[in-house]
């Protein structure tokens, strides 16, 4: 089947999509956006987190056909040209990235948190990131990065 949707502000059409295929597969293999990672395909790890009509979801659990006509924003759509989003910048600065596999999902989920709650408490950060697994960092530097990004964004305002 054919699926048409908007991703990062651009209209995209994917052809020959299998009816049982996930949005994650379409993004990575058909639209050429490999930022969202495929690790578990069962909603457990969060590495495939994207915005679907402004709400964060696991792209591996959205059927491709369900994305028809809808708006998707992936990690590739967060930076403004060469200027990284504050969350991305903070992840780099704080050393919150090791192998990097979990990073795109965490960045999208943290981005959403700060949009909704500009000054999140530590409990709110932990709750927001509960569905994003990292096998490398031990999370402390990720928490540092989210705190830093939130502080910077709040300062901007």
């Amino acid at each position: 089947m054919r699926v048409t949707f908007t991703v990062n502000g651009r209209r995209e059409t994917a052809d020959d999509v299998w009816e049982g295929e996930s949005l994650l597969y379409v993004l990575r293999e058909r639209v050429g956006l490999p930022g969202s990672k495929n690790a578990c395909e069962q909603g457990e790890c969060g590495s495939c987190t994207v915005y679907l009509d402004g709400v964060t979801v696991c792209a591996c659990l959205v059927a491709a056909g369900q994305a028809e006509g809808r708006e998707i924003r992936t990690v590739e759509g967060l930076a403004d040209g060469d200027r990284l989003d504050a969350v991305q910048e903070a992840f780099v600065e704080c050393g919150a990235v090791q192998c990097g596999f979990c990073t795109p999902g965490l960045v999208v989920q943290a981005h959403d948190l700060i949009e909704r709650i500009p000054r999140p408490s530590d409990a709110e950060i932990r709750e927001a990131l509960a569905g994003n697994l990292c096998r490398c960092t031990g999370y402390e530097k990720i928490l540092d990065a989210v705190r830093l990004a939130a502080a910077r964004k709040a300062g901007d305002r």
Partner: protein
Amino acid sequence: MDFLRPATWAEALAAKADRPEVVPIQGGTDMMVELNFDVRRPPGLLDLNRITELAGWSSEPDGRLRVGAGVSYARLIAELGDRLPGLAQASRTVGSPQIRNRGTVGGNLGAASPAGDSHPPLLATGAVVEVESAGRGVRMIPAADFYLGVKRSALEPDELIRAFWMSPASGPQYFSKVGTRNAMVIAVCSFAIALHPGERRVGTGIGSAAPTPRRAVAAEEFLAAELDWESRLDPEVLRRFGELASEAASPIDDVRGTAGYRRHAIAVMARRTLTWAWNEFRSGHFERRAG
């Protein structure tokens, strides 16, 4: 495989009547896992995301809330958490934020897993499931009659779940769930309680400790007879309530826990949730909040 995308409820019912073997999909948080892992390869998917009726809720003339099968846990918590506190508390324990943004009570009912977290509060509050088919119209199924066996429900092949009906809480409600950690866990077992002070009655629901979610009927009857609503909770009443709740379960040993552990945990959760609810009721906090 086909991908059907009805735009209206009537179209969805017609499609399901025409092809009962196609499988509905809402949040996909159960369905897509099965597809990704090739556990299931249905002849077609029936996407219900475009049907606006399913994504809304309303206050009905009889005072009850009618909540569309497609309302996500996240929206249920945000929009109905004050009126449906027990179900909202259970919803907060489902998966992760991403799962709660997509997953629905309708999908939880559709899957009918004994471990589904919405079931105990649906049972404790006497919720009713509204299902419909193109041929036979609407059926209203009390939650207690909905679950028939492990992952089996009263839903017929040509029917779809439209909504569930639940009264706004008339007293304190609590949910408790045992798992190996705080987030992202399937319940080892769970328990829900709802106080109905006006009727001098307490409702219960047990999860993941029997082939289906079920009420602890003898425990409810015991409280209806023995609870003194004007005084403190008698420790002996509390103890016996836990014991009867535990006896209502018929758990098995599995990877998540043993039957013995589950029986023990149900008694503990029954006592704990009743204590929480009773303290809230006696403090008058609930009336103030509701008022």
